[in-house]
């Protein structure tokens, strides 16, 4: 693990109308670190994740990702930034129903000028890494929950991200499948040194991370 901070959020606040969801919160994630953000539903952890990943802009505060201040970036700049440095894993997988497994993995690569053969090769490589090589031409509807999440993890890695944000990655899975997915995420972190910030409401899953940050009512409590 490198000591440099890859992600820094300083005095972050987020208000929706009069409701303050994130309250003057600061946190940092070091390169190669696996941090889990744990807390009850509605405590603001998903909102914090969206602020740190550049999906949303904070009402107040500053976000620095890979040494770049993204706080004042335009929507366009943020999209390009996410394309280059960020990978996402979602609770409900969010695979495109019309695309096959490999096409879903290649989704972040579609807007990039890249030979389609290269795109295909990269997607297959990642799916094989996720032990999904036999399901590359399958549509999401024909995959199990665990398989869908494996495809989603492969998609998160397609653009060689600096950091992966995972929002309740096992939330829609049974416990056995959830354990398998967590094993994959841990392996990614341990074997490839992937930096990860995972949001979960399950303390047991959070424990597997290097560091656990607890949230309550929009604030860090520990």
């Amino acid at each position: 693990m490198n000591n440099a901070d890859i992600l820094m959020g300083v005095n972050l606040s987020k208000k929706y109308d009069n409701l303050e969801v994130v309250k003057n919160l600061s946190l940092n994630v070091k390169e190669g670190e696996f941090v889990s953000l744990v807390g009850k539903s509605g405590c603001g952890k998903t909102t914090l994740l969206s602020l740190l990943s550049g999906l949303e802009k904070p009402t107040k505060g500053q976000v620095t990702l890979n040494s770049k201040d993204i706080t004042g970036a335009s929507e366009e700049e943020l999209a390009l930034f996410r394309r280059e440095y960020v990978g996402f894993i979602f609770q409900s997988f969010n695979l495109i129903p019309t695309l096959t497994a490999w096409e879903n993995v290649a989704l972040p690569l579609f807007p990039i000028k890249m030979a389609s053969v290269q795109r295909h090769k990269r997607a297959i490589e990642l799916l094989e890494q996720m032990e999904m090589g036999h399901r590359i031409e399958h549509l999401p509807a024909t995959l199990s929950g665990g398989e869908k999440q494996r495809v989603a993890i492969a998609r998160a890695l397609a653009n060689h991200p600096k950091i992966v944000f995972a929002d309740e990655p096992t939330g829609n899975l049974d416990s056995a499948t959830g354990d398998t997915i967590m094993a994959i995420l841990n392996a990614l972190h341990k074997n490839q040194g992937m930096t990860m910030l995972m949001v979960t409401h399950e303390p047991n899953l959070a424990k597997t991370a290097d560091r656990v940050i607890r949230m309550q009512d929009g604030e860090v409590i520990k």
Binding site: T46, L49, S50, L55, E56, E75, E76, A79, L80, R82, R83, E84, V86, F88, F90, Q91, S92, N94, I96, P97, T98, L99, E103, L107, P108, F110, P111, S116, R155, N159, D167, E168, G171
Partner: protein
């Protein structure tokens, strides 16, 4: 923009795609059909004049002959003077003129409808050359006659025999099949223009009603530049007076009385309404598509698609659907137009243009020019319809880009 993704989306959501494509294609087909119907009736209205090589015919109504003896003019076609013809020939937009003299000759034992024609002029009745069934056509400078087949048969007149008309003798050199000939400017007997003029000049009953001088005629056929037909018609009225009878494609169109033929505005409005409905269908379907796929758009944005990338993707979907709708619309229109091409149109010939005296048997019958509806899809119209459908796709996609921009990437974090 990824074309593979576009095609997969359209294929996967085939019900929505079909609704959108079929909806728009019906609009495109209606747009084409309404336009070609209007064009077809306009083309049909040109037919009676076109077949005598003219765009306009001119005749001046006058007084009824006092007595039906010798040579007289029908009251629907009296003298057009040489000076007037000189002025007419100078009207801008006139390409050429054809002259003729139509005379009714009441000889003691026989009545003739005589038409004096310019044998070498392609504008006017010389087009009859194509309908000579026996013998030959009139030769320049010779005093000879052509006779209509039915009339020849009725009176036992044969090629090679001589006939006497208004006290002049003419050898019959050929027979003309009037049933195949144009409905305008038909007669029993066709003479060189000079001979018909000479008959008119020497007829006292004719001169007493409508003075006729050397070089005058009573029928004019005018070929004009297509866009100048109406201004030429107006100029003709200025020269010949408001009572002059001018037949143009427009006047035949009015006689047709068809809604498509009568009103350009109706056709245009109907076609535009059809298109507008089609555009609304396309817009509504695409809007529904975007709203249904808001989470998918969120995913695309979250993984690094810019607003422009997403818009281009949806724009291409919209354009591709509309292009397919355009092709299908043209295909539907081709089938419908093929069916419509079997329709026949009866174009009434105004009584003034009927050469036969109304008091003779069959003279009062309404004449019609009957033809198959000349309907076809001009390549330019098909290309325009296709462009219009693609443009519709583009506009729809562009309008919807605002909806797309409102979808935030954080949408994707909303848990189901």
């Amino acid at each position: 923009m990824n074309l593979h993704y576009v095609v997969k989306e359209l294929y996967y959501r085939w019900r929505r795609t079909i609704v959108s494509v079929v909806g728009l294609s019906v609009g495109i087909a209606l747009f084409i059909i309404l336009n070609v119907l209007s064009l077809a009736y306009r083309e049909a209205a040109r037919a009676p004049l076109k077949e005598i090589g003219a765009d306009i015919t001119v005749q001046r109504p006058g007084n009824v002959p006092q007595e039906l003896t010798g040579a007289v003019f029908p009251c629907s076609a009296v003298t057009i003077r040489r000076e007037e013809i000189t002025k007419i020939e100078k009207i801008p937009g006139i390409v050429g003129t054809g002259k003729a003299v139509l005379v009714w000759v009441f000889d003691p034992h026989q009545a003739w409808v005589v038409l004096g024609i310019e044998g070498e002029n392609s504008i006017g009745p010389a087009i009859l050359r194509a309908f000579v069934t026996e013998g030959r056509f009139l030769e320049n400078g010779k005093s000879e006659a052509l006779i209509e087949v039915g009339y020849a048969k009725q009176f036992g007149i044969k090629v090679g025999s001589n006939i006497s008309v208004a006290g002049r003798s003419f050898p019959i050199v050929g027979l003309v099949d009037a049933s195949r000939a144009p409905k305008i400017a038909v007669a029993n007997l066709y003479l060189p223009l000079k001979d018909a003029q000479s008959i008119a000049l020497s007829s006292k009953p004719l001169q007493s009603v409508s003075p006729f001088a050397q070089g005058d005629v009573n029928l004019l056929f005018i070929k004009a530049e297509q866009k100048q037909i109406m201004p030429v018609a107006a100029a003709l009225k200025n020269i010949l007076g408001s009572k002059v009878v001018i037949a143009t494609p427009e006047s035949f169109l009015k006689l047709l009385g068809n809604l498509f033929a009568l009103s350009d505005k109706f056709t245009l409005a109907a076609a535009l309404i059809a298109m507008l409905i089609a555009i609304l269908i396309a817009f509504k379907t695409m809007a529904g598509n975007i709203s249904e796929r808001s989470k998918e758009i969120g995913v695309m944005k979250a993984v690094g698609w810019t607003q422009q990338n997403v818009t281009m993707q949806f724009l291409m979907e919209s354009i591709l659907q509309c292009f397919a709708a355009g092709i299908l619309g043209i295909f539907i229109a081709v089938i419908v137009v093929y069916g419509l091409s079997f329709l026949t149109v009866n174009i009434p010939i105004p009584w003034e243009m009927s050469p036969k005296p109304h008091f003779l048997p069959g003279g009062g019958e309404q004449l019609y020019k009957t033809l198959r509806l000349p309907i076809y899809i001009p390549l330019k119209l098909a290309a325009f319809a296709l462009l219009l459908s693609v443009f519709t796709g583009g506009i729809t996609g562009a309008l919807l880009s605002r909806h797309i921009s409102k979808i935030k990437p954080s949408e994707v974090l909303r848990h189901e």
